[in-house]
Symmetry: C2
């Protein structure tokens, strides 16, 4: 584990931005690019730097909006769009492949001020699913749309459409082939058992953001390509309000990443909020309880990014790593991949 | 309001079954057939009696299993299947129509012992969506399947398939035409605003069941045709674990019915469980807080059926009526439609 600390030091850093005037309402932003088995020894310096740079770009794009008085919703949408448009993460371009070698994208967004929310599941030709989720929230009478219907809604809203191949990447196709080979090699066991025996790296990968704006509003957003080799129109936790995404100005903004089935069953995002709200504990403490204890004991791998109404950031995960970055209400900035965050 | 009490007396009754031996572990079951604007003056005696008889039949089919040592999962599935196969309720046969004059069915089921769950959204040709949801739980590596993919999974499992017209009923078609007429008549307002102005009767209708078996396991199940005139692959709360359905042996089994968008945003089923768990209050009290206060204040109409680990039943709703029936751990049986439950 010492190795991780040393390697982490190479990409994880924190520093303080110039002290803010006391009269400026605090703003804060945290983002993630997925949790999982991220082996530091297998990651090239180039890839590590590319990931850190893209996280920084996404963080900056959202944070600038917040600094200029923009809304938490605008900030999380902007940050997630940057990550969706990058092939480095499992969302938008770079989304994993389904069993049939296509891409089915899920996303959701929630406004902590109104508890309004929007979500889409299984969309194939929408360039930025997070923006479609926001349209569902603001311009449809519904919260969640799926499949062909969601695409028809997207067209009616003038959202940017792309061919499904827009999301293709060589590395994800290779992962699909590996996953299918492993599943099909397990003769004599059910598809279910074969999938369950797959390494967790095939089951994860998501991007997300949580923000606090200068009006005190919290928002959360999550987007994903789901699980490698998923079949049968599988919907993960990312578009499930309460599982992958939740926001409530009274207590929390949360975006999750991990083995989605567990996050749905354990109602992870909302359960963390509920613990903070009803037990009167800090959101960070509630997040640790759920991610590092309850979910871990159940075998559920992944993590969350959380932001409380005071702009405090916590980003616990029970996997080897989680791509993440944040600037809290005090202006402390952090970009990290592995467990240890080393002070500069 | 006195009128309701009088009319309620005609269909709502409670009585005690023969006292159970102290050594028999308690079992309990509650079911619902939807909440909404149910005008007692507009309901014929025949319809009232037919509804009461079908609720009784569903209740009995599940309760018999429990009495014979059957599992809570078997009991909720059996009860919901009876309601799905009846044209009286908005699930299975009798499901409302989509904008395009078809049916898209949603369902979910959850095992409180393991927190395992299964859900399907937008299925069109599966006779009993609740049984497919159970197959998703037991025989797929996933929790939630949607659309065409869910149908393909159904075929691979040998689940009974029917043409979409199997779910047709004259009265629901009439409701669709009314709803579309009202929406299209509202020129100059958005589809969203027009739908939001629709009477709540068009937005509700669900069936569900919660059970406690002799091993102390709780289970919950919910099934629906969704909202009349729904479009764009709309998914309501029924297949969303945490919103329409939740079960956890430690504290609760819950099935919800109402304006689904609110139930998703307020994470209703899981929030009731969380309040009971973290605030240490009775489940019934938590359900009242959410349904009669928080949700009602937000404008969210509907109700829930709840069962706690001691087999206590609570079934609060903030609408005029909710079709419901239950037998609690003491053997007290109840079948009711409106607010008042009159002692015999």
């Amino acid at each position: 584990m010492r190795l991780f600390g040393v390697l982490a030091a190479m990409t994880a850093f924190t520093f303080s931005l110039p002290a803010l005037a006391e009269t400026t309402p605090p703003v804060a932003l945290a983002i993630h690019g997925g949790a999982g088995t991220i082996d530091p020894e297998k990651m090239s310096d180039e890839k590590r730097q590319a990931i850190a740079a893209k996280l920084d770009e996404a963080l900056t794009s959202g944070y600038r909006l917040l600094q200029n008085g923009g809304s938490a919703l605008d900030a999380v949408e902007a940050a997630v769009r940057v990550l969706e448009d990058s092939p480095l993460f499992n969302a938008g371009v770079g989304a994993v492949y389904t069993w049939e070698e296509g891409h089915e994208l899920d996303a959701s967004i929630m406004d902590g001020a109104t508890l309004e929310a929007g979500a889409v599941a299984g969309v194939r030709t929408v360039r930025n699913p997070i923006s479609l989720a926001r349209k569902v929230m603001t311009d449809s009478p519904h919260v969640m749309l799926a499949g062909e219907g969601a695409e028809a809604f997207a067209r009616s809203q003038g959202v940017e459409m792309v061919p499904n191949s827009h999301f293709d990447t060589e590395s994800r196709l290779k992962s699909l082939k590996e996953a299918k080979e492993k599943i099909l090699a397990r003769e004599g066991v059910s598809h279910q058992a074969a999938v369950e025996s797959l390494e967790s790296e095939f089951k994860m990968g998501t991007v997300g953001a949580v923000a606090l704006d200068s009006t005190g509003t919290l928002a959360a957003a999550t987007s994903t390509g789901g699980m490698t080799a998923k079949r049968w129109g599988r919907v993960g936790d990312s578009p499930v309000i309460g599982a992958g995404t939740y926001a409530d100005d009274a207590v929390c903004a949360i975006s999750a990443t991990g083995h989605g089935e567990y996050f749905i069953r354990y109602n992870v995002a909302a359960d963390i909020c509920a613990r903070a709200k009803y037990q009167g504990i800090l959101l960070a403490e509630a997040a640790d309880e759920v991610i590092l204890k309850r979910l871990k004991q159940a075998g559920g791998t992944g993590g969350v990014i959380t932001l409380d109404p005071e702009g405090r950031v916590a980003m616990p995960f029970n996997t080897e790593g989680m791509y993440r970055a944040s600037i809290d209400a005090q202006g402390n900035k952090q970009i990290a991949i592995w467990q240890s965050v080393i002070e500069p």
